[in-house]
């Protein structure tokens, strides 16, 4: 049971949240000029990192806000949490 530090509500148990997959995914557009490869890459090829992975999480049974989490997928350790639209903490400095 991960302990997740929601940037709006503070530290809460994992079962209040749901994982939304990798974050900072850029949705290619406009559709008329997006190639088949670009679209397939967006849809079907997540990086699937072993180690620190940037993910979106949704505080479904809380504030219903989405936010970013950097989580080590090998150890489940949560390295940092930041809001949507913000840069990952290590890139701020």
């Amino acid at each position: 049971m991960l302990k997740i530090d929601c940037p709006w509500c503070g530290s809460r148990n994992e079962d209040e949240f749901s994982n939304g997959g990798e974050s900072h995914l850029v949705r290619p557009e406009p559709p008329t000029s997006v190639t088949e490869d670009e679209w397939a890459n967006y849809l079907f090829y997540p990086t699937n990192t072993k180690g620190p992975s940037k993910e979106t999480w949704f505080h479904k049974y809380g504030c219903r806000q989405w936010f970013n989490v950097t989580r080590n997928t090998a150890t489940h350790e949560i390295l940092n949490v930041y809001r949507i639209g913000e840069n990952p903490p290590e890139e701020n400095s």
């Binding site: 302990k3 290619p28 557009e29 679209w39 967006y42 849809l43 989405w66 949507i84």
Partner: protein
């Protein structure tokens, strides 16, 4: 000869007797006894029968590790299966029974299996499942292979759930754990210590090392008292940690609740750091008949004498490997038990000369006797000849198995240490450390310094005190004897509970199983209640020798929760049972539905399936209701429909992204049907969009999808298009009375909503706000039946009132209430789909007749790019069609396949199918490869074992011209 109570000694309350029964016979024990110690004191040798071969089994180990003394505890609703007698404190009135024994533990018919061992080998199930007549054997084998009985009555015990938090959680209150707790608390940390035994102290209460000395015991007692009285340590005895999860989240069961009328409490604990100090247990020596009653582990033997004042036998042979049995030897001397011989597999080189009757360089080849050991055959490790010794007990000291299950559950890694012949913790994934015998220490001094280090280090890791330096520890040097090669491997048991022998492991290796995890599953090794606590390392050793790999290369078994058995009742603690398991959502008009004979089904909400009149069947009622709607008018409760309001300057722009169709051209007061797609271009949901004002929209989602749609809207708004708008879920705010049928307009007019209801001013797909008897009402003219239809939305507080009110107004027009089943018939007659019923994860708009994207829509929308892929234009896609059966009375089964060719290939399947009471024939919707182009073709449908002929047709069966809808 069996066990007996010693004249003196032990920590039991000799003045307080306790009466209990075992297998129907009354016995007396003392307060402080376990069921196991009390039975041994009463001379009981055979505790139960083994799982597969039904061999007699007696006490072998202690605590959670004992494989042989599983009991059925209690009777009736309160009974619990598979609890080791070593973990059951005796109490007055306790009722215990052996498991696996029929008709009795003394005479068990299943023992015949022992003779057929050659058949019941490893992988028996996998091999025999291939027999053509497995069904003949299955019931017999299942009955014979039972492990206790589950009560038939509802559980009458009460359970509670609690949450705890602390800086440092210590698992195990032995010498190391107590010192760890004290050290952490001394540094200022808030500490919880959990001990699965009824009392704190661990093995120090009775195992006093080689230097037998009252002082150690007194020291431990003092330490326990200090820990008990420490203000920042909470000590929970009878509390077993059963699982270890991410971020130091642990689950424990407290069986000694201080709350009145609670039998067990489930504890969820979150700790800053964790100290594992679970100790170690002695593992078995593996020789022929090493499972016979009378063979006991050295630690269990000592505990019986010093803790319970019970001798396990009168004449003992000790089987050891160097100095391991010294404590048991001392205990036997204290109790005045005759030691016939000490069989020592080590050659004695380098050890102190011992003046006891020791047979150096010898091993026990086999034990004799069936229900109790009568003697042993001893052979030299190298050389010929054998000696037979008469005895009633064999005490074995083969080596320690450190208890690291919870540590490995936490993600911790182990590594094999050749010197101590054991797996030791090397790295942890979480904030956890291991100390004491779990960490391989073998002296009280080492346990104390390791415990203090662990406590200080744990406290320092969460900000209390300084990080201590790592102490020097002593560990026993072992040259393990993994199994006795001179013994017959067929009755040399590695896992006594699973009846897994050396020959089973050898067979699995011969059959080319290599991974220890595969061998485990093939042989059922360590898969019982014991979970490899003593059999795990024993098996790794045997496999190591048989395969010629080092134990480190064989590897360890992955341990999974729970550490020891947990009652299902405890897991459902917090009243998560029966009607309280999940909340029941009732419609505001639930009582009104009940009054009208509604038969409910749970669709997330309890919804009327149909209204039963004078004993109608569901089909009868639904047909009557569906006919009444088309003939006159019907009333349906549409309250669960998903309702979301989108408001803000960018609302229309946002909806253009969300829906495949255009929403920015929707005029105020008008309604448009829309499809939501996912990024693959497949249907996610459908529903109507109502334009309330230029910047304010109301959207409807399928009842069953309402929650998912709400999350979907939030996700796209927050993550992709942070436009200026708000999304509000108002699903439960509004009750919806749906009035449908040719006379629906008359009913609405009779309700006098305060606006013109004529077809000209209130056409299909439009919206009006008004009042019905002063109650604000939002009325949508939309239809899921193909009839004139109004969805009257009022505040949920008026949900029951509006149903009653509409019914009254409809009396003149023959209005009847209709349920889900009639609704399904009506919508299927019109070819209206249910997303996920009539579509699957591949279905795109074009496949159901919506050729999106439209030429005029320029903006992007979810899934738009996917609709442009060549595959989306293939004429062979599965498309929605109707199927008309040749025989109008044959109703196809949902899921039946449309087949072609020989051998038959599926080219589609039926998604919805009903007998249409309005058309007098069966109707079906289907998804079919290239279905649109196949309209008019004859097809075969394979339905419930029969081939049914039919014709592909338009999915709209009723009122194709839409004259009724727009009337």
């Amino acid at each position: 000869m069996a066990g007996y109570r010693l004249e003196k000694g032990g920590l039991v309350g000799r003045n307080e007797t306790v009466n209990f029964t075992f297998n129907g016979r009354p016995y007396v024990g003392f307060k402080g006894d376990t069921l196991a110690s009390a039975l041994v004191a009463n001379g009981v040798s055979v505790f139960g029968r083994s799982f597969k071969y039904h061999r007699s089994r007696g006490l072998f180990s202690r605590g959670a590790a004992d494989p042989n003394t599983l009991m059925q505890i209690g009777i009736g609703a309160q009974t619990s299966p598979n609890i080791p007698a070593t973990q059951v404190p005796v109490t007055d009135g306790l009722v215990a029974n052996s498991i696996n024994a029929w008709p009795s533990v003394e005479f068990d018919i299943g023992e015949i299996n022992d003779v057929f061992k050659r058949v019941l080998i490893a992988g028996f199930y996998y091999k025999s499942l291939m027999w053509p007549k497995w069904g003949l054997f299955e019931p017999i084998i299942r009955r014979a292979a039972g492990m206790g009985k589950v009560p038939k009555e509802p559980d009458s015990a009460s359970y509670e759930i609690g949450n705890l938090q602390c800086d440092v959680l210590v698992i195990g209150a032995g010498l190391a754990g107590l010192h760890a707790a004290q050290a952490a608390a001394g540094a200022g940390a808030d500490v919880i210590i959990m001990e699965s035994d009824t009392v704190a102290g661990g093995t120090s209460l009775w195992s006093i090392g080689a230097n037998a000395n009252e002082d150690v015991r007194e020291q431990v007692k003092r330490l326990v008292n200090e820990v008990h009285s420490s203000p920042n340590i909470r000590m929970l005895c009878s509390t077993t940690v059963v699982s270890y999860h991410d971020d130091n989240y642990l689950v424990a069961i407290d069986r000694n609740c201080d709350v009145v009328a609670v039998d067990e409490r489930l504890i969820h604990a979150r700790a800053g750091s964790v100290v594992v100090a679970q100790g170690a247990v002695e593992r078995p020596f593996i020789f022929e008949n090493n499972d016979r009653p009378g063979v006991i582990a050295a630690d269990a033997f000592s505990e019986l004498i010093r803790r319970y004042g019970v001798a396990f036998g009168k004449k003992i042979v000790i089987f050891t490997n160097g100095g391991r049995a010294d404590d048991a030897i001392a205990a036997a001397h204290e109790a005045g038990i005759e030691i016939v011989a000490i069989v020592d597999s080590s050659d004695g080189a380098g050890s102190d000369a011992r003046n006891d009757n020791r047979l150096m360089g010898h091993v026990i080849k086999r034990a004799m006797g069936r229900k109790r050991v009568r003697g042993v055959e001893v052979v030299p490790t190298d050389g010929q000849g054998s000696i037979k010794l008469a005895c009633d007990t064999v005490v074995v000291a083969a080596g320690a198995s450190a208890q690291l299950q919870l540590f490995t559950q936490s993600g911790g890694k182990l590594s094999y240490d050749e010197d101590s012949a054991s797996f030791l913790p090397v790295s942890s994934m979480q904030n956890v450390r291991v100390c004491g015998a779990s960490n391989g220490t073998n002296t009280p001094t080492s346990a104390v310094s390791d415990g203090r280090w662990a406590g200080l280090d744990a406290a320092a890791s969460v900000g209390f005190g300084d990080k201590p330096s790592v102490p020097d520890l002593t560990r026993a040097l072992e040259k393990p004897l993994w199994f006795v090669h001179q013994s017959s491997s067929k009755t040399s048991f590695v896992d006594m509970q699973g009846d897994v022998t050396v020959s089973d492991l050898a067979l699995s290796l011969r059959e080319n199983f290599r991974s220890i995890e595969h061998i485990k599953r093939y042989t059922t090794l360590g898969m019982g209640v014991e979970q490899g606590k003593i059999s795990g390392l024993a098996a790794i050793g045997v496999i190591s020798e048989l395969s010629g790999k080092s134990p480190g290369d064989v590897g360890t078994l992955k341990h999974r929760p729970p550490y020891s058995p947990v009652s299902l009742g405890a897991l459902s603690a917090g009243q998560k049972r029966g009607a309280l398991l999940a909340p029941i959502k009732k419609l505001p008009a639930h009582k009104w539905h009940e009054k009208h004979g509604a038969v409910f089904e749970d669709h997330g909400w309890m919804r009327p399936t149909y209204y039963s009149m004078s004993g109608e069947t569901m089909h009868g009622a639904a047909a009557r209701e569906a006919v009444a709607v088309r003939k006159n008018v019907g009333l349906f409760d549409g309250t669960p429909l998903g309702k979301f309001e989108i408001k803000g300057p960018d609302a229309a722009k946002f909806l253009n992204y969300i829906y495949a169709g255009r929403m920015d051209t929707l005029k105020v007061g008008r309604i448009r049907y829309g499809l939501m797609l996912n990024e693959n271009g497949s249907l996610f949901d459908d529903g109507v969009v109502v334009c309330l004002s230029k910047d304010h929209f109301l959207i409807n989602a399928s009842s069953g999808h309402a929650d998912a749609v709400y999350d979907w809207l939030e996700a796209w708004h927050q993550l992709e298009w942070p436009l200026d708008l708000v999304i509000q879920d108002c699903t439960a705010e509004w009750a919806v009375a749906t009035v449908a049928g040719p006379k629906a307009r008359e009913v609405l007019a009779a309700l006098n909503p305060g606006f013109d209801v004529s077809a000209e001013s209130f056409p299909h797909m439009s919206y009006r706000a008004g009042h019905i008897s002063g109650v604000p009402a939002r009325v949508q003219r939309v239809s899921f039946s193909g009839e004139i239809c109004y969805e009257i939305n009022v505040s949920a507080d008026y949900g029951e009132w509006i149903m009653h009110h509409v019914q009254e107004a409809g009396k003149l027009f023959g209005l009847v209430p209709y349920g889900i089943e009639a609704l399904e018939i009506l919508r299927a007659e019109k070819g209206y789909i249910h997303v996920d019923t009539d579509t699957d994860s591949n279905t795109q708009p074009k496949d159901i007749g919506f050729p999106y994207p439209s030429k005029t829509k320029e903006s992007d929308f979810i899934g738009r790019r996917s609709l442009m892929r060549p595959a989306s234009h293939s004429p062979n896609r599965q498309q929605l069609v109707g199927i008309a059966t040749a025989d109008p009375d044959t109703v196809l089964e949902v899921g039946a396949h449309i087949v072609t060719g020989n051998p038959a290939q599926s080219i589609g399947f039926i998604t919805s199918s009903y007998m249409s009471p309005n058309l007098g024939c069966s109707i079906a919707l289907a998804l079919m490869n290239g279905g649109k182009a196949a309209t008019g073709a004859s097809v075969d449908v394979w339905s419930l074992g029969k081939t049914v002929s039919g014709t592909v047709c338009d999915p709209v069966f009723f009122d194709k011209e839409r004259g009724l809808l727009n009337g």
